[in-house]
Symmetry: C2
Subunit: 174 residues, 2 copies
Amino acid sequence: MIKGLLSVLVVLVAVTSVLGKPEKTPTTNKPEKKEKRIPQTLSRGWGDQLIWAQTYEEALFWSRSKNKPLLVIFHLDDCPHSQALKKAFAEDKEIQQLADEDFILLNLVYETTDKHLSPDGQYVPRIIFVDPSMTVRADITGRYANRMYAYEPSDIKLLLSNMQRAKKFLKTEL
Amino acid sequence: MIKGLLSVLVVLVAVTSVLGKPEKTPTTNKPEKKEKRIPQTLSRGWGDQLIWAQTYEEALFWSRSKNKPLLVIFHLDDCPHSQALKKAFAEDKEIQQLADEDFILLNLVYETTDKHLSPDGQYVPRIIFVDPSMTVRADITGRYANRMYAYEPSDIKLLLSNMQRAKKFLKTEL
């Protein structure tokens, strides 16, 4: 019986690992040399008209000095789940407007050294909110118990609601 | 006599501080809202055809895994010295080719938390080399004693020579 449960667990872990994994090796993040290259953008397609911080340090600085919550997106170019969420994020006008007006934005294809940004592990896609007080808002989660900061494209309105929450919480606290 | 020397020193420090300072407040790094924005690039004009890492963590990862030295450029969009060096860097074909083939590249408009990247202070423009062993090459300097990692556009061939040194040193060490 215990063996059976263990097997189920192993299968589950394997399935969820595959779901979040890039399909190719990390070296494919870098295009091959000599071909004509399109300049890389900081938005990486998550909203070309939005203003993106480049690094976590920069984002924290802007968050504190502008007193706006920080939204950090962890994703990978070759992860289909990230790509699907990106499309939904970039096409949702309410999200784009709220992001533009009330958030400091950062998207990363690489983990930072700050462990607070991975409260339940390092996986993609994952969206973490940080208060201008530099407190990671671990309480603002999506709907998946095993990956609390993951969102599917169908969760886009939950993400919008979480953004409103991050914004509201901040105001009532200060 | 000592007082006189001190005065000269103070004036020198004041002059060099002004030289490297951005002309506007940091908030001008962020364009005003609502105008049609040009998507920000990772190259920021230092070589649109080169592949740039986004963060220091990412750059270190690539440096180690590809066994290539890392070249980190600290600069500011509204610093005329940074802009002049950028032009010289982007237009020098030898530099661009060497950078493309043998270096991991990172340009930052914001300081990292790693104090090793500012051996003699935080100023712009400043170019620091890091070995794939993650050792900052504090020995590879420009020609200014008061700002050892600064380069002027006229120093572009010294920078090229330093890049060759960073590359050569690595090979003879391994």
